[in-house]
């Protein structure tokens, strides 16, 4: 674990150099969605579950921005470290194992996902779109989906030979998962089978928790959502290590 923290420290040293451009990129997109959907489309949408449309989608933006941050870091970011810069190989020559390298990358991506979630949370709070002090727990909660999404992306990276393949991950998995996650409309408005499928969509669980905390609707059901994500992360960690071992140790 110490070695994983040292690798995390290495990534943080890089982050300190690039954080500004990095945050700006991740900051602008959710803001565009918030403006277009919340203010634009929202004027034509009636109140949803007693909320204005902006209030409804704002917490989902926190969850999704956090998801995208983790996913991009562990797809493009990790692939560049593996394939182009060979940072993993350089680090592996040091006193670390593949597990440490995977853990270091996951910690870093989780950290970034928390930071980007926090940035959007700050924005929506300034815009008055959080209703409860429970919202303060959101950044802490984001660690859980952060781990799950980092690991999911990292496993895909472990199977990927070509950087163009990430388009598939984003277009065929992340984007639909995001659109049908309850960010823009409630899951219970979808057909029954789609509601079942939603339970297998990690971003759905993250959105549910973020929205409940932002509105102060805490209930024990939130623990189930968090539990699903924890379980997902626990299953994926050994898989990620195995896939990366295959790539690095021959």
């Amino acid at each position: 674990m110490m070695a994983a923290l040292r690798i995390f420290a290495r990534h943080m040293a890089v982050f300190r150099k690039i954080w500004f451009t990095n945050i700006m990129f991740n900051f602008i997109e959710p803001l565009l969605y918030l403006t277009a959907m919340g203010y634009g489309l929202g004027t034509f949408v009636q109140d949803m579950e007693g909320l204005t449309y902006l209030q409804y989608i704002a917490p989902g933006m926190v969850a999704s921005s956090s998801m995208f941050a983790a996913s991009f870091e562990c797809t493009y970011g990790s692939f560049i470290r593996l394939h182009y810069q060979k940072t993993f190989q350089a680090m592996l020559a040091g006193p670390v194992t593949v597990r440490d390298i995977v853990a270091g990358d996951i910690l870093y991506a989780t950290f970034k996902s928390m930071v980007f979630g926090l940035v959007i949370l700050t924005v929506i709070s300034v815009l008055g779109q959080t209703q409860s002090w429970w919202a303060l727990l959101i950044p802490l909660f984001l660690v859980i989906p952060g781990l799950a999404f980092s690991l999911l992306a990292f496993c895909y990276t472990g199977l990927t030979a070509n950087i163009d393949s990430f388009n598939y991950y984003i277009t065929l998995f992340l984007t639909p998962a995001y659109l049908f996650s309850g960010v823009f409309f409630p899951i219970h408005s979808m057909p029954g089978w789609a509601q079942v499928v939603a339970w297998f969509n990690p971003i759905f669980h993250s959105v549910e928790v973020c929205r409940a905390l932002a509105l102060g609707n805490t209930n024990p059901g939130l623990l189930v959502h968090a539990g699903v994500l924890v379980l997902l992360a626990m299953v994926l960690m050994p898989l990620a290590v195995r896939l990366m071992t295959k790539r690095l140790i021959v």
């Binding site: 070695a3 040292r6 290495r10 040293a13 890089v14 810069q85 006193p95 670390v96």
Partner: protein, 309 residues
Amino acid sequence: MNEVVVRAENLGKTYGDFRALKGISFSIKAGECFGFLGHNGAGKTTTMRMMYGMSTVEEGELWLFGESIRLTPPVIKARLGVVSQEDNLDEALTVIENLEVFGLIYGLTRAESWLRGKDLLVFMGLEDKENSNIESLSGGLKRRLVIARALMNRPDIVILDEPTTGLDPQARHLVWQKLRSLKAEGVTLVLTTHYMEEAVQLCDDLVIMHEGTILAEGSPQYLIATYVRPYAIEVHLPLSQVPDGLVDQVSAWGGEVIRVLDSLFLYADDGEKLWDSLAGWGLPKHACLLRPSTMEDVFLKLTGMGEDA
């Protein structure tokens, strides 16, 4: 007698149907410079990767610092410095930051790491480049930085996989000088190369590898003295213009002939005498060159690149 720091016994490696290493044995003593000389694909890099923990030992045995290895563990990697074939530097970071950040992985504090990095930049003659971007460095400077990075943990053994491939002669000599000073400080050097000159210039002891096996082992002087005659004459004529029966004549005279693709090499114990006989065999001297035999001759002979004519 120095202690043995690396020992391999019958070390093998198979990738699918391809047997990359066919059971090699060698031992490397502390403080020496040990070389693996061979073509691309001879099995040198595979051997190196097993030493520094990027490949598992599946056939035969490998000991590092007396410990039997399957996959080199972090405690042993902490005592190694690795200069891999590719310059895997961090392009987002400057020269000094590359060293600083790498030190963190060895558990140095940021301040320690920075100090050590500064020292190593001076040692490798990179102090002017401290704050340069990686992209702006030439190939030679990048190599020197990769070597500096491999020294951040003050390793007992530095493993260099083709340290000067792709460098111009001046940059190569500079790297050699630095490696010599490292050796003078008692660091064990293990290097792979396909440059004969590099092997001769640096190695106390070397093995010649070919298609996954070791063909010969010894000091460069020993190998030259053992495997080839002391003098060589290069015949710079197309084979079609070489007089018929030359090979037989040289052999009958007591010399040796090796053909490498389209060129002929004649070998003898007495170079002057062989030289004086050329005219009699119908070989014009202006097309020939007499020189002492080198590692290259040993290599050509042993690897079968030169077939005995």
